[in-house]
């Protein structure tokens, strides 16, 4: 079955099979191949099978559709043709036979479920695996460190806060908890000493990908810069809040 390989520069983004239904390309979300780029019109072009041929047709796009660097309105495609739409390339792969292409499975077919249903472990794994197969090649973007359906998160290193200046109940704190609070409250992890210290000056959350410091009653600074939203901490960062300075370090 023929397919289009969507690429951006050297990166392969997606492989789109072309079967009985036409493949639409454009910026709007209802396209089969959605390219979110200003140089691409909302409905830019379409590719479809006609008799035993693969055809591309420009849908009156603003910037045009190019095949092998020539602007086209409607042409037959052949193996390895390079389609250029905006800055994205689609390479034609005829896939062997062009006859009778099968209907591609683009969606996971399932009946509409009105009532709440719960999948048991086996069905859940099956359905998630099936869905991954239908989606085709991996999409672009960062490699997510995904956990397995019921796997545990990867082993983590713990970090510590070392007191540099100011008055707290300890000189060093191992950040083993999910939430560490710097403040005067009984519940605080790093207890501040002194008059008029806030109940919770700042907070540090331990997430799967590291530690994040965020404001509470006060806005902490990290290496001198104020932090108004949860921000990831790096080895050696100097945190200052409510008259206390702490060094963030990883311990082995």
């Amino acid at each position: 079955m023929p397919k289009l390989v969507l690429k951006f520069e050297a990166a392969v983004l997606k492989e789109v099979p072309v079967g009985a239904q036409p493949v639409t390309i454009g910026r709007a979300p209802d396209n089969d191949v959605q390219i979110d780029n200003l140089a691409v019109s909302s409905h830019h072009a379409k590719v479809y099978a006609e008799e035993s041929r693969l055809v591309i047709e420009d849908l009156n796009s603003l910037n045009g559709t190019f095949v092998n660097n020539q602007r086209v309105q409607r042409v037959t495609l052949k193996q390895s043709d390079q389609i250029l739409i905006g800055k994205h390339h689609l390479v034609v792969d005829m896939g062997g036979t062009v006859e009778a292409p099968a209907i591609p499975e683009r969606k996971v077919s399932a009946p509409k479920v009105e009532e709440t249903m719960v999948l048991d472990t086996k069905k859940r794994k099956e359905l998630l695996a099936q869905a991954m197969g239908a989606a085709g090649a991996a999409t672009t973007g960062q490699e997510k460190t995904q956990q397995l359906a019921d796997g545990k998160p990867p082993r983590q290193r713990f970090a510590s806060l070392v007191l540099v200046s100011g008055s707290t109940d300890q000189r060093e704190y191992l950040l083993s908890g999910k939430l560490a609070v710097i403040g005067k409250s009984e519940m605080a992890t790093i207890k501040l000493r002194g008059w008029f210290k806030p109940k919770a000056a700042a907070q540090i959350s331990k997430r799967d990908d590291g530690y994040y410091i965020g404001p509470a009653d006060k806005t902490p600074t990290v290496n001198g810069a104020p932090v108004s939203h949860p921000t990831k901490l790096n080895e050696g960062d100097l945190i200052e809040v409510a008259g206390v300075r702490l060094n963030f370090v990883y311990k082995d």
Binding site: P29, K107, A110, P111, K112, V113, E114, E115, T116, M117, V118, L119, D120, T121, R124, L127, L128, A131, M132, A135, T139, G141, K144, Q146, A149, D150, S176, G177, K178, L179, V181, G183, S185, E186, M187, A188, F196, K199, A200, Q203, S205, K206, G214, A216, D217
Partner: protein, 272 residues
Amino acid sequence: MHIQVGARTDLGRKRGNNEDSFKLVPELNLFILSDGMGGEAHGEIASNIAVETIAAHCSEGVKNKSVPLLAEARPELTEKTNRLVSAIHAANHEIYDSAVKHPAQRGMGATVVSIWLNETRLSVAHVGDSRCYLLRAGELLQLTQDHSLVAEQLRRGIITREQAEKSDMQSVLIRALGIEPDVQVDADEQLLMDGDILVLCSDGLSRMVSDVEIASTLLTAPEMQGAAERLVELANEYGGEDNVSVVLVKVEPTPAGFFWRLWRWLNKPLNS
């Protein structure tokens, strides 16, 4: 700590019975909401078992700290959070056992979302697609991840956000209480600040009313009970496809003046 609570549950416009339950335990600062499922009235039974069991187990745990935890304690979580997780395991067993004893109840289950407030620390634990949101400084944050098939597919990059919104399978869950002998409970801890509003709700609210409208309703409501009723009203106005329940907990600002603090300090026992 001072809190203001509002809560409301409603049948909605399309359903024959209400399978949602909630339980408020203000003396413990513990709040639980559950959405049941299963034919006949079994959803009601399941969600009721869930909220009652969790409240009972947490109460007991507070009175007697040596009551064993039903799940391995997670070292990164506090005692209260671990106790809440244990309570949810207890609820899972109760629902599962009930279905074993009464075969007609087979397949019944429930979601649960629960919060336990402790001064500056909030424990949140949940299973399923009932949600907990935090409204702080005008911003509404979803604190829980939905345990639905569609949400999982979205998280893994299998489908896009548009596909998720149009999906036919939005009510298919990958985790719920009572379905299997064991369950994986998600738990988290957050900082609590004065002025925070916590929202617990079943999917009957989150599917009908957008986050933006939930936030604006909370920001413009003078008090929590009125806000809870208004949210339920909105869900029904937009179709009321399912039972809708919401629990609102507002952390009231405590007086922070110098003289109030001085008074408190002067009144503290000498040896504390």
